[in-house]
Amino acid sequence: MFSALLTLALSATSQSMEGTFDETFQGMFEMPEQPIYIPEGVQGPLNPAVPLDGGLTALLLAGGAAGYRQYKKKKA
């Protein structure tokens, strides 16, 4: 009687353990649907560049304006 009860209890426990394991490891090796977050801009590049050409168009426009100013001055 006791052994029959023990067998019943053990089989119930092992079934619930299996259920817990299954839940925990289900889809463990599947890729998540949402894109993986990769932090950017937190740390700059190891050897950053020191660019200068960003404002070339602005400088050309400033040159045109300076030239116009000079000719207006000459004209006056």
Partner: protein, 182 residues
Amino acid sequence: MNALKTWAASNRPFLLFIGRFLITFFGLSFLYSLYLVYTERHGDLDLVTYWISRGSHEMARFLGVADCEWSCFIDGCYVGRPGRMVNILEGCNGLRLAIVYGAYVIGIGGWNWRSLFQMTVGLVVVQIFNIIRIGSLIALRDYGGDMYFYFIKYVFGVWIYVSIIVLWLFKPRIDRWLGAKN
């Protein structure tokens, strides 16, 4: 249309300036681009970037950067202390800005010896400003902290552009020093 023609007739000298300014800018830029293509095909680094990085290395050493190293590859140079280097690429050498400066000088003064002299001196001065800029950035990077990012993003960009505009504004005075009549 008539108003535009009248404006063009009354501002003929300004239009001539714009023409010379743009032709000189695009002409010199084209020559520089040809040179870059030539160096790329030969697997070399362009000499302007090379000398600017070398000057920046000397400037950084002058400013007290200990163990400052300098190494060049086909795509650019690395200058600074190991682990805290800056990458000096073709876009960092400042020559395109110097070309804009030179184009303005030629645009205002025309193709004469005074303009050519000022253009040559201006090219050297702009490059010296750029060497001071990069040398200081290497020193700031070596010093550490957030100052480097602040200076690279705002201060030095403004510094070099304003220096060019100030050189432009000095042009009439330099012309007078060189003996121009007006």
